[in-house]
């Protein structure tokens, strides 16, 4: 449904030194620099797939989304969404896509949601019956009804985001871009939005690209992630694989009887894995995934263990390391 080949975007940015003199100078001469926002991205997204686009601020996620939704033109490269070139903005293409921008309200601020949706019905030429069915279903799924009569500007942030979601999905798009849809929302609303998106996916099977800084969004919604660093795709694959490849270890934590073993033997522990903590009564080791059974058995044999736990490293930490260009080995 989405095919991206070597897509690249370079922005020309005006650079100005601080201070009054520099401001005056910039009236006559400006220094321009080229900034690579996206440097040759290539990937595909299938029908019904939710792909998480992850990266630090300024990594190029939103630029990529803007190109794929047809808002901006690329510097070079190719993309096809539903068989269309997005930035040519064919009306048939635009009738089949939606973009939800968590940081930018898209609805008419001074109008109630009901009026905005009626306008969208006209814009997308949705047949009246289909519109009423979709609206009923979406409002029920998101648990809003009376708010349809309230001016958008008078709604809470969570209610506004729910309205934005309805506005984006009323015309049953086949491709949905979600740019930080849960930003600033409380935990309950975040959860409601995630559940809603999963339900929507189950019923409509659109291709979705989601950008978010919240790991919970990614973990709940995406089987596959694309990690972008400085405009470059550095990882494209399953969430599971990212852990296998970039965090090939687990953390093994033990609580032992102090009386039986006042001080663990450090040298012995270092042979088993990387020692994180070694205190009387408490041991924490970072151990290669494939050595876990062997090391655990050895520790159980050696010490009088009260409790033993084996933990996966935080996925957020792992992704953060990839985004920062570090690996587990380099640390």
């Amino acid at each position: 449904m989405i095919k991206v080949r070597d897509l690249r975007k370079v922005f020309r940015v005006h650079q100005k030194e601080p201070g009054l003199a520099a401001s005056v100078r910039s009236l006559f001469h400006r220094k321009w620099v080229e900034k690579d926002a996206v440097t040759g991205s290539t990937f595909d997204v299938k029908e019904g797939e939710i792909v998480g686009l992850i990266g630090a601020n300024g990594a190029g996620k939103t630029t990529l989304v803007k190109m794929l939704s047809g808002i901006i033109h690329p510097t070079s490269g190719e993309a096809e969404v539903l068989g269309y070139v997005p930035w040519e903005r064919d009306n048939d293409f635009r009738r089949q896509i939606a973009l939800v921008m968590g940081q930018k309200a898209q609805m008419w601020w001074d109008l109630p949601g009901g009026d905005c949706f009626e306008l969208l019905r006209e814009i997308y030429q949705i047949p009246r019956d289909q519109y009423q069915q979709s609206l009923k279903k979406l409002t029920e799924m998101l648990g809003i009804g009376d708010e349809l009569k309230v001016q958008i500007r008078r709604l809470s942030l969570g209610e506004r985001m729910k309205m934005e979601l309805i506005a984006a999905l009323l015309h049953s798009p086949r491709v949905v871009y979600l740019d930080e849809p849960t930003i600033g929302l409380d935990i309950t609303t975040q959860r409601a939005v995630r559940d809603f998106l999963l339900d929507y996916r189950r019923e409509n099977a659109p291709a979705m690209i989601l950008t978010s800084h919240y790991m919970e969004d990614i973990e709940r919604l995406c089987e596959r992630i694309i990690i972008i660093r400085e405009g470059d795709i550095v990882y494209d694959g399953s969430l599971e694989r990212v852990m296998r490849e970039y965090a090939p270890y687990k953390q093994l934590r033990l609580h032992v009887h102090r009386t039986a073993q006042p001080q663990p033997e450090l040298e012995l522990l270092e042979k088993m894995g990387q020692v994180i903590e070694c205190e009387p009564g408490s041991i924490c080791l970072r151990v290669d995934r494939d050595k876990i059974p062997e090391v655990a058995a050895e520790l159980l044999r050696k010490y009088s263990v009260i409790d033993l736990s084996i933990e996966d490293p935080e996925i957020g930490d792992t992704i953060e390391r990839i985004m920062a260009g570090r690996t587990a080995d380099s640390e």
């Binding site: 808002i71 901006i72 048939d92 635009r94 973009l99 006209e122 814009i123 997308y124 740019d179």
Partner: protein, 270 residues
């Protein structure tokens, strides 16, 4: 763009503006009072100083009627002063939303502009009913139901022309980001050369000759002269035709400017 969508946008814009009741009435009263006072003070002083009863073909009640009518028609032609919204959409990235819709941006904006006219139209009629009886009868400006009816199409095409004249300078925001000063300048020039400040018949003949070939006069002066009965039928037809030709020319010219500008759009703010 379908007509039903066009009128839906008009309807929404109208509802939006009418929802701010205090703003609606204050705008109307303040505008009317300030303009009437300025017009009366300025032209009574000029007529008193010159000592003549007719200046440039206008008597005092006539020129005051012109001043009031050009102010009222001007409000409708300008359509709620939306002339900076396109530039603001580009500058703030609000254009992104419109680019996602399967409708052309300029058509959507024009529908919004028409929607903004409705409150102005309503206010202008009310203000006209209050102001015109105060000005006295003029021998030089015979307003009749026919002249009022003839003015309606001239105002409609003037409204479209004003929108299109504002569009290209606003598209400059694709290159220059902030075009506020350019818009103010364009606005001042169109007001002056369009006859919104004083009748163009008071300009030197050579300037009038040049202005005859430019679009400005069809914005404010022409519809006003039609209402005031100073335009005969053939001049009326020629005026509307010329205005439409300018609309066509500016509309065609705006297309390549939009296309070039669109390539530079960065969609800031998201």
């Amino acid at each position: 763009m379908s007509l039903s969508l066009f009128f839906h946008i008009v309807d929404l814009e109208t509802k939006k503006l009418m929802s701010y009741r205090v703003d609606f009435w204050i705008t109307m009263v303040v505008n009317l009072v300030v303009n009437l006072v300025i017009l009366w003070a300025l032209w009574t002083a000029i007529f008193a100083e010159s000592g003549s009863e007719i200046i440039g073909g206008w008597d005092l009640p006539g020129i005051l009627s012109y001043g009031v009518m050009v102010f009222l028609t001007g409000r409708i032609v300008r359509g709620g002063d939306l002339q900076m919204t396109v530039a603001t959409d580009i500058y703030e990235g609000a254009l992104s939303r419109f680019l996602l819709y399967p409708r052309h941006y300029a058509f959507t904006k024009y529908a919004q502009q028409v929607g903004n006219v409705v409150p102005d139209l309503f206010q202008s009629v009310l203000m006209g009913l209050v102001a015109l009886p105060l000005l006295g009868l003029s021998t030089t400006t015979p307003i009749t139901p026919l002249t009022v009816a003839m003015s309606i199409p001239t105002i409609l095409v003037a409204h479209l022309l004003f929108f299109l004249m504002g569009l290209i300078p606003q598209y400059i925001a694709f290159w220059a980001d902030n075009v506020w000063s350019l818009s103010v300048m364009v606005r001042f020039v169109t007001m002056l050369l369009g006859g919104a400040m004083l009748p163009l018949s008071l300009f030197p003949d050579s300037v009038q000759q040049i202005l005859h070939w430019l679009p400005f006069a069809y914005l404010f002066e022409f519809p006003t002269l039609v209402i005031l009965g100073k335009v005969d039928f053939s001049q009326w037809l020629t005026g509307i035709g010329t205005c439409l030709l300018w609309c066509l020319a500016l509309g065609v010219l705006s297309i390549p400017v939009w296309r070039r500008g669109d390539l530079r759009y960065t969609g800031v703010g998201i």
